[in-house]
């Protein structure tokens, strides 16, 4: 069996940042991703990021992704693409599969940065072709450069729903409306303003009743809902669309963390079941770290910071960083992370993170 210092599973924002930090500290790092190219969801984030200069605010996600790839290469991270981690076995041994061949790789430290998957919403007609995740539509338009349809109804006015609506417009589709069950828009108001200026109505307090069509979506019906989420009779509106995008939240992709025996905690605000971890992102299983959406659904900026934190902490645990240097470097990241979790949009996530730390007994 092959051995290495560190394996990072998932080559998205968190995994790349973790790999770079650990490799720069001198660890031998293998970064594994099941896709043909690394970057995770960064390469479909074609909008400019928020935050401050240290978070690379004002830069588009694609460019941050390109920079991370370059840094990873320069740091000597071994990137293995098209490789699925199919199992987590005892003694930190990972089962890998690539081109129908399997092998095992054992690591002293493992960082799981497996990301998240989109939630679905069931309604009559939701299985029809044309109903898809908002993230799916974003992949199609921004990476593969193909429109999923000509006219779209977006369900969900969180940041994903708002951003993807805007990007669908940029790609040349029409977005007939954004529907949000809550009475208010939960994403950033500025994202909502952009699509309102572009002529897209946002129906808060509304839900999708059904999608209709013979072989694929041809029409949707929405309606206002009361306080108990029941549709109000007489408020139905119909739209002729060929696509419905669902932006109704994300859930951590936690299979490997479950297999590794990590302790979990249920926190709906950040996606449901998430692995408990300490301030170094280390889980209840010593030597196994988590970062990014797996550690609680947030955004690319926080994912990168969490990745850096996990990479530094794991490098420190390996002895690649002195505890003095490690502590100083981690303190910088903690500060940057804290800055992203303040205000009315960040407060709930900050509380959720405190809950996780308390569950680990370090809060």
């Amino acid at each position: 069996m092959k051995n290495t210092d560190m394996v990072v599973v998932g080559g998205g924002a968190a995994g790349m940042a973790a790999s770079i930090e650990a490799a720069c500290a001198g660890a031998e790092v293998v970064l594994i991703d099941e896709n043909e190219r690394p970057g995770g969801q960064l390469f479909k984030q074609i909008h400019k990021f928020f935050g401050s200069e240290v978070h690379r605010a004002g830069i588009r996600g694609i460019h941050i992704g390109r920079d991370l790839l370059k840094e990873a290469e320069e740091a000597g991270v071994q990137v293995r693409l098209n490789t699925v981690v199919y199992g987590f076995f005892p003694d930190k041994c990972l089962g890998l599969m690539c081109n129908q061949h399997t092998e095992e790789l054992q690591a002293k430290m493992i960082i799981l940065a497996t990301g998240a998957s989109e939630n679905v919403l069931a309604f009559p007609g939701w299985t029809l072709p044309g109903v898809m995740g908002a993230g799916a539509a974003q992949t199609l338009i921004n990476i593969h450069r193909v429109l999923p349809g000509r006219s779209v109804l977006m369900v969900g006015a969180g940041n994903v729903g708002l951003i993807v609506s805007y990007q669908l417009l940029q790609a040349g589709a029409e977005v007939v409306a954004v529907v949000e069950g809550l009475p208010t828009i939960s994403g950033y108001g500025v994202h909502a303003s952009k699509i309102r200026r572009a002529g897209v109505p946002i129906f808060t307090g509304h839900t999708i009743l059904r999608a209709e069509g013979k072989e694929s979506v041809e029409r949707v019906v929405i309606a206002a809902v009361d306080k108990s989420w029941q549709p109000l009779a007489g408020t139905e509106k119909a739209f002729e669309v060929d696509t419905v995008c669902l932006a109704v939240g994300l859930s951590p992709l936690a299979e490997l963390a479950w297999m590794a025996g990590c302790q979990f905690i249920y926190i709906p605000e950040i996606g449901g079941w998430v692995p408990v971890h300490d301030e170094n992102m280390e889980t209840s299983v010593p030597g196994i770290y988590v970062a990014g959406d797996l550690a609680g659904i947030e955004e690319a900026s926080t994912a990168m910071e969490e990745g850096r934190l996990a990479g530094l902490a794991a490098a420190e645990a390996l002895g690649c960083l002195s505890s003095k240097d490690g502590r100083a470097r981690k303190a910088e990241v903690w500060e940057r992370l804290a800055a992203l979790r303040i205000g009315s949009f960040g407060h709930g996530r900050a509380l959720a993170m405190e809950k996780i730390l308390r569950a680990k007994g370090v809060g």
Binding site: F49, G51, G58, T184, Y188, S193, A198, R341
Partner: protein, 173 residues
């Protein structure tokens, strides 16, 4: 009346209300508009974000600590250069020049759609709700490399529309 107001505002409609705008420290007081071209920051939520602060060459925008502070705009220092417009990830910064002509003002805004209009095109001016409110003549389309594909378009509109027009109607592709 009260009920109607509860349904307004950025959290409900996606459009900042008049009250929200006027309460924001980035939104210039109406008497400042007569001075010449100045930026109008329509940032009304405590998003952790501050690139506008660093972008301004004359130090007219202050966010400070924490970065969820709303940007504070100092009209005295603003020379209306508009460097901040393409930088704002929320596309919430505009420029208004009420001194352009007697009856006409100019409005500059970020724009990321194709096709781009050309100087001299007469297009429809669009307000914050996406409605066409007036005709607008394209005065300038700036898209230098540093803007990273965010064009900044300047249109000429009737003066009374300068604080309403925030974009233009997208042309069919």
């Amino acid at each position: 009346m009260k009920k109607a107001r509860a349904r307004e505002g950025i959290r409900t409609t996606g459009i900042p209300s008049k009250e929200e705008l006027e309460a924001s420290p980035g939104y210039p007081k109406s008497d400042c508009l007569a001075r010449g071209p100045i930026v109008v920051i329509e940032c009304v939520q405590d998003i952790p974000c501050n690139p506008c602060e660093g972008a301004c060459p004359s130090g007219a925008i202050k966010v400070g600590n924490p970065i969820t502070n709303l940007p504070v705009f100092d009209v005295e220092k603003c020379d209306g250069c508009g460097t901040c417009i393409p930088i704002c990830p929320g596309q919430a910064i505009f420029r208004v020049d009420m001194t352009y002509q007697t009856d006409e003002a100019t409005v500059s805004f970020p724009y990321e759609f194709l096709p781009l209009p050309k100087k001299g095109d007469v297009v429809q001016g669009i307000d914050r709700a996406g409605g066409a409110v007036c005709e607008a003549e394209v005065l300038r389309v700036q898209q230098p490399k540093g803007f990273d594909h965010t064009a900044v378009i300047t249109v000429i509109v009737p003066k009374n529309m300068a604080m309403e027009v925030r974009s233009i109607k997208r042309a069919k592709r």
